[in-house]
Symmetry: C2
């Protein structure tokens, strides 16, 4: 099987949420898996002199129109969690700890976190909120709770963030298809075409 599509995202990224609704299907259409790679956009913002979109004058107002409109077009629910943006460290750590044990459950947790945050508007910043979702997927909350404080798990997330920055991941969602970078949920059509044609 060909290499998976790499899918970088921040759990607190609304456009990442939208992309998460479609990227697996696009991969499957072309016989590709998708490697989900949650990371922390805050570290990128320092390098790119950026800030969370919703707080930027003018751009934030526009995004509050564009996001629900794009979601309606995709037929997916959309709401902004409160507070927003939220710290996604706990969700990221839970994902990477699980991904080494039960990869399918890790991906199910990622989808559940996105749905809780942007489908239902729940605050997913607290470890307790992540543990509750994971428990619903059959994950042992005691073991996961301990993992969230495990230095090796912290280091794994840090390494993923550093690697993303080294590779030029400048926003969320961000994708690599056989090394070719694509930024934004509005590049999903380019990704689909790239996989179809092998590039242009």
């Amino acid at each position: 099987m060909a290499d998976p599509i790499e899918f970088y995202f921040d759990f607190s990224s609304p456009y990442g949420y939208l992309a998460a609704q479609k990227i697996d299907d696009i991969g499957a259409k072309h016989g590709r898996g998708v490697a989900w790679k949650p990371f922390l956009l805050g570290a990128v913002f320092k390098t790119t002199r950026s800030e969370p979109l919703l707080g930027v004058p003018m751009k934030g107002d526009y995004a509050r129109i564009d996001l629900p409109r794009a979601a309606r077009l995709m037929g997916v629910p959309f709401t902004l969690p409160n507070p927003f943006p939220f710290m996604s460290v706990a969700a990221c750590r839970a994902f990477y700890w699980l991904s080494e044990r039960e990869p399918e459950t890790a991906r199910a947790l990622a989808k559940a976190v996105f749905h809780a945050a942007f489908g239902e508007g729940r605050d997913m910043s607290a470890a307790a909120a992540v543990l509750e979702l994971a428990g619903g997927l059959g994950v042992d909350p005691v073991a996961l709770g301990a993992a969230l404080q495990d230095q090796a798990v912290k280091d794994r997330l840090r390494a993923e963030v550093d690697q993303g920055i080294d590779r030029g991941v400048c926003g969320s969602p961000f994708f690599f298809v056989d090394g070719e970078p694509f930024w934004g949920h509005d590049r999903l059509d380019h990704i689909d075409r790239w996989l179809e044609t092998g590039g242009w």
Copy 2:
């Protein structure tokens, strides 16, 4: 005839250049004209705490991949002019002066400026460069040269920039379809759909 699509852009915006290749066709498909509205993105950057994309760490590197790739997919030539970004005041003033006299020639000049800048990589910041292109379209270079220093023409451009900011035009290209805002050449598909369906 229904109201035209309003198309805001900075002549120094590469994604504005890409959008300019398609927006008239999208309008025509749905029986809509397009009101071209060049403006100065620098004024917006002050409000949005932004800076020209190509100069932003990481994002600039990505854009240098994304722009020519998007242009190849559209089948249009693409190169970055040097220097970049360039001051587009002269081109904007020429456009608005012409638009009150020969609207079709004004639009032809806009297309010629974009093509010279991003199709051929020419520096279009100087008034002389704009006058030369306009001369090729049959415009009197003496009258146009005087207009570029006319206070009324300066005021017209200033008014367009101020109005754009008041309306939330936070980037280039930016569109309004019956008042509905769309930002980015990657929203052309949404615009096409919006015109098809009357909104969703």
